[in-house]
């Protein structure tokens, strides 16, 4: 079933359009940055990129992370079960038979694969664009030319490792939203409704993170530690928020996957 889901994902034009859009945004930002060379404002790392193009993958992740990537995840997650239901395929899949639990797991798995592919593509595009448009450091000094956020320099190998770690963290951060979208998708037969619900949860969480009055609930919000991957670029790495971020995402995934399962496994499929 997992293979079938991946094939469906791969053959959906929507998948490719969202991936293209995800890669296009950092490219557009890079073009503005390269032509004006104004590095102030906007997401993290932009000013650093002006001196070293190889940091652009990190900047690209920072560009798509707050909204673009989670919205794409919400679209695909929201479509997972509700989309099959509204296309009338859910009843035929279940009658094939595909176990309901297996269907859910396959959907979550293909969503995870989508997130990973998206993050890798964004980072690779970011690297290509960064190297092409911004000065890459050459010569003997290059071994320690990237300055970490907190001061001491990083070697290119360290940068590469840390960008890799950041990619994994960003991908993992998306799974919380994905699980929420999947849960909503098992409740309604409208893919649009499920997607909007997940986006609403996302926007609300983003809002509360910035709201000082909501300090008491902040540590439990799914988006609270989304930017913690920047800590990978500190020297030494600041693990505290990263660990919490992983923990909170794991809790969201488990809770909402459990809820989806509890709802879907006992649900009357009348679509």
């Amino acid at each position: 079933m997992i293979r079938v889901e991946l094939r469906k994902l791969y053959r959906r034009p929507r998948t490719w359009i969202s991936l293209i859009l995800l890669c296009a945004l950092p490219i557009a930002v890079a073009i503005f940055l390269a032509t004006t060379r104004i590095g102030t404002g906007g997401p993290a790392f932009l000013s650093a990129v002006l001196n070293n193009g190889s940091l652009y993958p990190a900047a690209a992740l920072a560009i798509v992370l707050p909204l673009f990537l989670p919205v794409a995840v919400a679209v695909i997650g929201g479509d997972a079960v509700a989309g099959e239901a509204s296309a009338g395929m859910l009843r035929y899949l279940l009658a094939r038979p595909v176990g309901r639990t297996r269907l859910l797991i396959a959907k979550l798995f293909s969503l995870t694969v989508f997130v990973l592919v998206a993050v890798v593509l964004v980072a690779v595009t970011g690297y290509i664009v960064g190297v092409a448009l911004f000065p890459a450091q050459t010569g003997p000094a290059s071994t320690a030319i990237v300055t970490s956020v907190s001061g001491p320099p990083l070697s290119p190998q360290q940068v590469l490792m840390r960008i890799g770690a950041a990619m994994v963290y960003v991908a993992f951060s998306m799974l919380g939203v994905g699980a929420i979208a999947l849960f909503l998708s098992t409740i309604t037969d409208s893919a649009l409704g499920a997607t909007l619900g997940a986006i609403a949860a996302l926007v609300a969480s983003q809002l509360f993170v910035t709201l000082d009055a909501a300090t008491s609930i902040k540590p439990y919000l799914p988006t609270r530690y989304w930017l913690a991957w920047i800590d990978f670029f500190r020297e030494p790495i600041l693990w505290r928020d990263i660990e919490r971020g992983v923990g909170i995402q794991a809790v969201y995934v488990l809770v909402f996957l459990g809820l989806s399962w509890a709802n879907f496994a006992t649900k009357d499929v009348a679509s």
């Binding site: 296309a87 395929m89 009843r91 035929y92 009658a95 094939r96 038979p97 006992t266 009357d268």
Partner: protein, 300 residues
């Protein structure tokens, strides 16, 4: 093949299916009739484990449902409430995806080809399903149901959207499958379809199975003989009081034996064009035991 005991499904305060005891023998062609909203589709969904019964028992192919669905469903082909497919994929790709979704089985490609051939779609190309006509979609849905050479076919309105030629074709196909040993269970509100195809009939009304019998028994003799005669006026005079209906030269005469009646008419020197014992039509039976469908909303 299919038996249910006291099968009931309630949605909140609405009872969609109410204490149904159904029995479909192996090898039969069973038609489930009933007005719209009488619970036919809910029945089918419960048989397939899509909808869970509130109370009652279901057994399909001798196994309890939904407990042993995993063993039952691979041997069942189904068409529920119209065909469905991914619009952006071709018919063949759709069948391949659907087949791969279920348990692993050998010779996938060949079986897909065979199924398409059987429903008259052997020549379809790579066009996406969204360009298909209603009839082509219906055929594709049937092909999906036939993919695994099922022992039991559960079909909801199998000839929906087909033209008379297509309906005939599909009816012949279903008959052929039945002689090969497949049990047919179909729901329909087209009486003619059931009358021409089925051996057993169940009639549902407002969630209850109000009648279940062999088609032969339902189409019992009415005790009347229908006579067509150019001398209709004189036949009426001859059997005064026994002619219960007249329509031009067609008469319905209350008499137990057509042969004897024919003899009487001829002996009186009258001519007969047609003569046959009258049988109850399925329509008579259905109208007698059902109320109007839920799609009719009368003024209170």
């Amino acid at each position: 093949m299919i038996t249910t005991k006291g099968l009931t499904k309630r949605y909140g305060r609405i009872t969609a299916v109410n204490a149904v005891d159904l029995a479909v023998p192996e090898g039969s062609r069973f038609g489930l009739l009933g007005p719209n909203g009488s619970g036919k589709t809910t029945m089918i969904r419960m048989l397939l484990g899509l909808v869970y019964a509130t109370t009652g028992e279901i057994s399909v192919l001798g196994e309890p449902v939904p407990k042993r669905l995993k063993q039952v469903l691979p041997q069942v082909g189904a068409l529920v409430e119209g065909p469905a497919a991914y619009g952006h994929l071709s018919g063949r790709a759709n069948l391949a995806l659907l087949d791969a979704a279920g348990p692993r089985t050998p010779k996938r490609k060949q079986r897909i080809g065979d199924a398409l051939e059987r429903v008259g779609l052997g020549g379809i190309d790579r066009r996406p399903v969204r360009t298909y006509s209603l009839g082509m979609r219906q055929r594709l849905g049937l092909a999906a149901a036939l993919l695994r050479a099922p022992r039991l076919l559960i079909l909801d309105e199998p000839t929906n959207g087909l033209d008379p030629q297509g309906i005939h074709e599909i009816r012949e196909l279903l008959r052929e499958l039945n002689t090969e040993g497949t049990t047919l269970f179909l729901s329909s509100h087209l009486l003619v379809e059931v009358e021409q195809l089925c051996t057993g009939v169940g009639i549902m009304d407002r969630g209850q199975l109000v009648k279940q019998d062999e088609l032969e028994n339902l189409r019992a003799l009415t005790g009347r003989v229908v006579v067509r005669s150019p001398d209709a006026d004189r036949v009426v005079a001859l059997f005064d009081g026994k002619v219960e209906m007249r329509d031009g030269d067609r008469l319905a005469v209350r008499h137990p034996d057509a042969a004897e009646l024919n003899q009487l008419i001829v002996a009186a020197g009258l001519r007969v064009m047609e003569i046959a014992p009258e049988r109850q039509t399925l329509e008579d039976v259905v109208l007698a035991v059902t109320s109007s469908g839920s799609d009719r909303v009368d003024k209170r």
